[in-house]
């Protein structure tokens, strides 16, 4: 007799070996394997420990400032209606992660990982950072728990995100400018992994996105999923049901994974990830592996990546330091191939336009990363009826980007 087994829900990943369908895995030197095993064991123990959850929840409430609001962006919605040529558009709501302590969603993950660091008896924490938001969030958690902290940051990003470097140093972190390779996030990640190869027995590597070897993609997703869980509850409170669509920007993909994951099994909620379309679709001009890449292995896992035919990591470009990365989390690759999430790209120009648009319509200056999601949300809202609701993950605030954005806007003005 043949019995039909119910299909596994899409959320039932990763497998015990850290796989999301074909993606994910653990491709690292053996030196790091015992630390990854230790981390997973400690994480699983922590997750079933009510004291851990209670402490994290209390920190998120009193230190991070959660729950962050779900805000109805009425003037942005009106703009989308005007732009649509149809006189109507869906309602755009912003999940205000920009209001979390340190100004972005990154703190949700670092507070969790700092608690794990303490549980493992490690006294030092290291991190990579692109835009500096994860670096700041790690420095913050380290200061809170009294841990030593070293942050690796590409030299190009140190220039682009000077303000965040100052913030990290203020909180006692040591910022190491990485001069190798493209001097951006990819190279900072290499250096953080090299540090961890030597320091693994007393140091925790707090990876900042849903990338890297298992169990990082799972742990970071889980810590960030507080965003999506709150959004579910707040949507029902605000407009009586789940949203019709959820939009988030995707670099490594942690803010997107955090808001998407609690909706993945709700087929009626459309999920849209927005990558960095950069200057053009040409190789080297963008940072959109899900849109233009192929499956490959980078930084410890199999996922869509921008690579040459020889397997060398390709050069990437984005105006946004947080999206300027050639890889993406393996769960996003899984969602893409399963057809569950639609991935698009917004260009540098569209992101810059949306950066000023949100500032002028709503009085909110978003991060340049977030501005990519805003661009797509306005486009999508214009295609939908006015009784529909779109939630955008407003993943970070743009104070850090003011210098760089005004430089880019000035260049653009000069070019016209």
């Amino acid at each position: 007799m043949i019995t039909a087994s119910p299909a596994q829900p899409l959320s039932a990943v990763p497998s015990a070996s850290g796989r999301y369908g074909a993606f994910g895995g653990v491709y690292v030197p053996e030196t790091l394997v015992s630390a990854l095993v230790q981390l997973e064991e400690e994480y699983r123990r922590a997750r079933s420990d009510p004291a851990f959850s209670a402490e994290l929840d209390a920190l998120l409430a009193t230190f991070v400032g959660r729950a962050t609001p779900l805000y109805h962006a009425k003037r942005l919605s009106a703009y989308a209606a005007e732009r649509s040529g149809r006189g109507q558009a869906a309602n755009i709501w912003l999940k205000r992660e920009d209001l979390a302590h340190t100004g972005a969603h990154k703190i949700n993950n670092t507070m969790g990982q700092a608690l794990l660091t303490r549980r493992m008896g490690k006294r030092r924490i290291i991190a990579e950072t692109g835009a500096g938001q994860h670096g700041v969030a790690t420095a913050t958690a380290a200061a809170h728990f009294g841990l030593r902290c070293d942050v690796y940051m590409g030299a190009e990003d140190v220039r682009r995100q000077r303000l965040n470097v100052v913030r990290m140093k203020l909180m006692g972190a040591n910022v190491i400018a990485v001069e190798s390779g493209s001097r951006t996030l990819k190279d900072a990640t290499n250096e953080a992994m090299r540090d961890w190869m030597a320091s693994v027995e007393g140091t925790h590597y707090a990876l900042g996105s849903v990338v890297g070897p298992h169990p990082f993609p799972m742990i970071v997703r889980d810590f960030q999923s507080v965003i999506g869980r709150e959004t579910r509850r707040q949507s029902v409170e605000a407009f009586g049901r789940l949203p019709d669509a959820v939009v988030a920007c995707v670099g490594g993909g942690s803010n997107a994974a955090g808001i998407f994951y609690p909706f993945v099994d709700d087929a009626g909620v459309r999920l849209v990830g927005v990558e960095a379309g950069g200057r053009s679709r040409k190789p080297g001009d963008h940072a959109a592996p899900l849109s233009f890449g192929t499956p490959g292995i980078l930084h410890g896992s199999l996922s869509y990546v921008l690579q040459t035919d020889d397997g060398q990591t390709a050069d990437v470009h984005s105006c946004s330091a947080g999206l300027d990365y050639p890889g993406v989390g393996p769960e996003h690759s899984y969602w893409k191939d399963a057809g569950r999430v639609t991935y698009t790209a917004a260009t540098d120009d569209e992101a810059l336009d949306s950066f000023t648009l949100l500032a002028r319509t709503e009085g909110i200056i978003p991060a340049l990363e977030t501005a990519h999601a805003i661009a797509e949300a306005v486009r999508l809202a214009g295609q939908m009826p006015c009784d529909r609701h779109i939630v955008v993950n407003c993943s970070g605030r743009g104070d850090k980007d003011v210098d760089e954005a005004s430089r880019l806007l000035g260049l653009r003005e000069a070019g016209r």
Partner: protein, 268 residues
């Protein structure tokens, strides 16, 4: 029996130890890699390891990472390294293993990569970023090609796991002489290494080669005589010597040969 097996069998039969110099493929030039290959056997190398340049070598320290970067900037590809090796590879001489990231192997396809390496004259592979759990499919492809596969065992690897890794290897196991990345800074942790080798000998008959942090004849001696390894692997020091020599307008091939000759004095 693969050539790697034969080499270790002969070494053991005569009570000798092996030296495994590492060259970065295409650094300072592909010509230098090819020319050096022919000179290292007489200088005392049992097996030569050639690193296939990779854009993101996370196990490598500044010397090898920079050499790989320079080689890539100069346009070196895996196919280019294979061609250069093929031109000088005889039927005799030292064994030849490729150290290559899984990123490259995956992208080219394991079957094609193994076939091309074999056609170029390689005898085996070291996969520095493939732990035991991800090695299953690769092991079959490598075995079918009649080649050897060496995985890493680290100081942080628990004994039971080390035994399982050794069982998955062929040719030799690659035991890291310390935590951390490749490079000359901290030397091998000889006492810890000796204990780990004793434990590993109870689990495997495969030869044990040690690398990372070994840069002088005295460190070679410590690893093969005090710690009891079958072979010592020297990478960064040799890559640096070749780079420095080329930068000073001298012959990097001669520099490599001289250094290997000196390192081989530590085997005695």
């Amino acid at each position: 029996m693969t050539r790697i097996d034969q080499i270790f069998s002969q070494l053991r039969g005569s009570g000798r130890k092996g030296l495994m110099p590492f060259l970065c493929g295409g650094y300072p030039t592909l010509g230098a890699t090819a020319a050096t290959l022919g000179r290292l056997g007489p200088a005392g190398a049992s097996i030569v390891e050639i690193g296939i340049p990779f854009s993101d070598p996370i196990a490598d320290g500044p010397v090898i990472a920079a050499a790989m970067h320079e080689a890539l900037v100069a346009g070196v590809t895996p196919g280019g390294v294979f061609e250069a090796v093929k031109g000088v590879r005889g039927t005799t001489g030292p064994g030849l293993v490729a150290m290559v990231s899984i990123s490259i192997v995956h992208r080219m396809g394991a079957g094609r990569f193994v076939a091309e390496a074999k056609a170029a004259g390689f005898d085996g592979f070291i996969f520095p970023d493939v732990p035991l759990e991800e090695a299953v499919g690769l092991a079959g492809t490598v075995r079918d090609g009649g080649m050897t596969m060496s995985l890493l065992i680290a100081p942080t690897t628990p004994p039971g796991r080390a035994a399982a890794i050794a069982r998955a290897c062929s040719g030799f196991v690659y035991l890291l002489s310390r935590t951390g990345i490749t490079g000359e800074g901290a030397g091998p942790m000889v006492e810890r290494l000796a204990r780990q080798i004793v434990a590993l000998r109870r689990e495997t008959d495969l030869p044990i080669a040690c690398g990372f942090g070994i840069s002088s004849a005295s460190q070679v001696r410590a690893v093969v005589r005090e710690a009891g390894a079958d072979a010592a692997i020297v990478g960064s020091a040799l890559v640096r010597a070749m780079g420095d020599s080329a930068a000073a307008g001298r012959d990097p091939v001669a520099a490599a040969e001289a250094m290997v000759r000196d390192l081989a004095s530590g085997l005695a």
